[in-house]
């Protein structure tokens, strides 16, 4: 039994389409689905490529050094799901990857004063261990 406080927020559910993404996240790595035909990244992952409809897809490991910029964001002052009452206000961003700006990853910006968030702000990916075997990708300000 874990002695850690129980994690109250929703834990990402793995399924046939997204498992490689979340398995990599558990290893503190970013892995993205890619179309075998048109080479577009596919995020969130799915059964085919939304750009061209091709069903053959593969996975590309981008590693653990992931930088991005804030494309847009919201700051929520109420919890809409369990567990977030402990983390108000909650900053949610859609961030554009520096390595592939067309790919935008949604996550919270953690350890950040909501008043300092701006579109274009540089971010770095971090992984938070939420249970013994699961980790959640998050963003932190790259300025620290």
């Amino acid at each position: 039994m874990s002695t850690k406080t129980e994690y109250e927020k929703p834990i990402p559910l793995k399924n046939g389409d997204n498992q490689p993404y979340w398995d990599a996240a558990d290893q503190h790595e970013l892995k993205l689905q890619k179309c075998a035909a048109c080479r577009s990244f596919i995020h969130p992952p799915g059964p085919a490529c939304p750009t061209c409809g091709n069903p053959e897809t593969e996975w590309e490991l981008l590693g653990s050094d992931i930088s991005a910029t804030v494309y847009s964001y919201v700051v929520s002052y109420r919890p809409f799901l369990p567990g977030f009452q402990h983390d108000l206000p909650t900053i949610i961003t859609v961030a554009s990857l520096d390595a592939a700006p067309e790919v935008k990853l949604m996550a919270n910006i953690i350890n950040c004063d909501a008043k300092t968030v701006k579109i274009g702000m540089p971010l770095k990916m971090t992984w938070v261990d939420i249970t013994e075997d699961r980790a959640l990708p998050q963003w932190v300000s790259a300025k620290e």
Binding site: P10, K14, R78, F80, I119
Partner: protein, 387 residues
């Protein structure tokens, strides 16, 4: 103009009394709304050969059940899952079926205990949401479960890029609340809003405070569509369906990674072409207003103000009575009630029939109106009505 233009008309509208706690089932409320729409049109239940409705997460009653207790057996019933823009899209379906000669007269309704029953974006099991919503496992772990957050992501960037301020959002709210003060059936009748109060209200989720969000209520609305020929035998003044346009954009249903365009941007051109009119011809509007910013974004999309000038357009009072585009004149979803857009369409029909003639609620001499539906940034349905 499209071939179907002005060949069908809305001949009846009706609702039940909206409240925070109806104490009634969606079936009971839908029956009241349907009977009121039939009485408005001067029709009997047996005149209906089609009944359609939309619902979200099974919050309504099936059309067949409504037919049962209206005491009729229509040829055709249809229940779709949908919210914003479903009113316009089901009216489009009705027009197509009438024009194809399959049906004569169709009743479309929306009934929901949106306050005392289940509320959009609240009270669901998070794991069920992860499985139910496409991309859900990429949203829920980050606390992203509410339309305020999904649409807010579009609003933040759009506001920054086009110079829209919190005050501009406030002008939308204040304009619609002002309409509600003339409508005794509006939920926020008797509760006017001023800018000082608006700006002092803390955000729920940026950039939206409680006033920027629609009022969730228990409510049912109904609309009856028939052919222009049948409309001549109805009691009411017909309001003709001049043009329509549906549109989807974006990959994925909730995990939107591109917030710089919305479906309404693409629906607009087809809409005006189908009706053979231009934005400047429109005299009264029903703009989908689940959130204040959604109104501003659609004013831009449908060509009522240029990108970058939408804030000034609403600040100048153009959504109010006497403005260039009196909009949501019963108070809209921000202050009258919320049936995913149908209540706004009911009001547009009443304005175009001049039901409020000789009162301060009537938009003077209005002949042409627009109703815009917004299921989300990714899905639009709009129509142009004329009297």
């Amino acid at each position: 103009m499209a071939t179907y233009s002005n060949q069908c008309a809305i001949v009846g509208v009706g609702e039940n009394k909206r409240s925070r706690k109806s104490g009634a089932t969606p079936l009971h409320m839908a029956l009241t709304a349907a009977r009121n729409a039939l009485a408005d049109a001067g029709l009997e239940a047996n005149d209906l050969d089609g009944i359609m409705n939309y619902s979200t997460g099974g919050d309504s009653c099936p059309s067949h059940e409504l037919a049962t207790f209206l005491g009729c057996h229509p040829k055709y019933v249809k229940d779709v899952s949908g919210g914003g823009s479903s009113t316009e899209l089901l009216i489009a379906d009705a027009v197509a079926l009438i024009e194809a000669g399959m049906l004569n007269t169709v009743l479309i309704y929306r009934s929901m205990n949106g306050s005392s029953g289940h509320q959009v974006g609240r009270g669901y099991d998070p794991n069920m949401l992860q499985e139910m919503l496409p991309g859900g496992s990429f949203l829920m772990p980050y606390g992203t479960a509410s339309p305020t957050q999904w649409f807010g992501m579009f609003a933040t960037r759009h506001m920054q890029q086009t110079g829209i301020t919190k005050e501009h959002l406030g002008h939308v709210c204040i304009s619609f609340y002002e309409h509600a003060q003339r409508n005794p059936d509006a939920f926020l009748h008797g509760k006017p809003l001023d800018m000082e109060t608006y700006l002092a209200t803390p955000d729920i989720s940026s950039p939206f405070n409680i006033h920027d969000c629609c009022v969730e209520l228990d409510e049912a609305n109904a609309i009856i569509v028939t052919s222009a020929a049948n409309a001549k035998n109805c009691k009411s003044k017909p309001v003709f369906i001049a043009g329509m346009a549906p549109r989807t954009t974006h990959s994925n249903v909730h995990y939107w990674t591109q917030v710089d365009e919305v479906a309404s941007d693409y629906a607009a051109a087809e809409l005006y072409r189908s009706a053979g009119v231009k934005p400047e011809d429109i005299q009264v509007a029903a703009i989908y207003d689940c959130f204040s910013w959604v109104v501003l974004r659609q004013l831009e999309a449908y060509g009522f103000a240029k990108r970058g000038e939408v804030g000034d357009f609403v600040a100048a009072g153009n959504l109010k009575m006497g403005g260039l585009l009196p909009s949501n004149t019963a108070g809209g979803m921000l202050s009258e009630g919320y049936t995913h857009g149908m209540n706004n369409v009911l009001e547009l029909v009443r304005q175009l029939r001049h039901d409020y003639k000789e009162t301060n609620r009537q938009v003077k001499n209005c002949e042409l109106g627009i109703a815009t539906g917004w299921a989300g940034p990714d899905m639009a349905g709009a129509m142009i009505l004329r009297n």
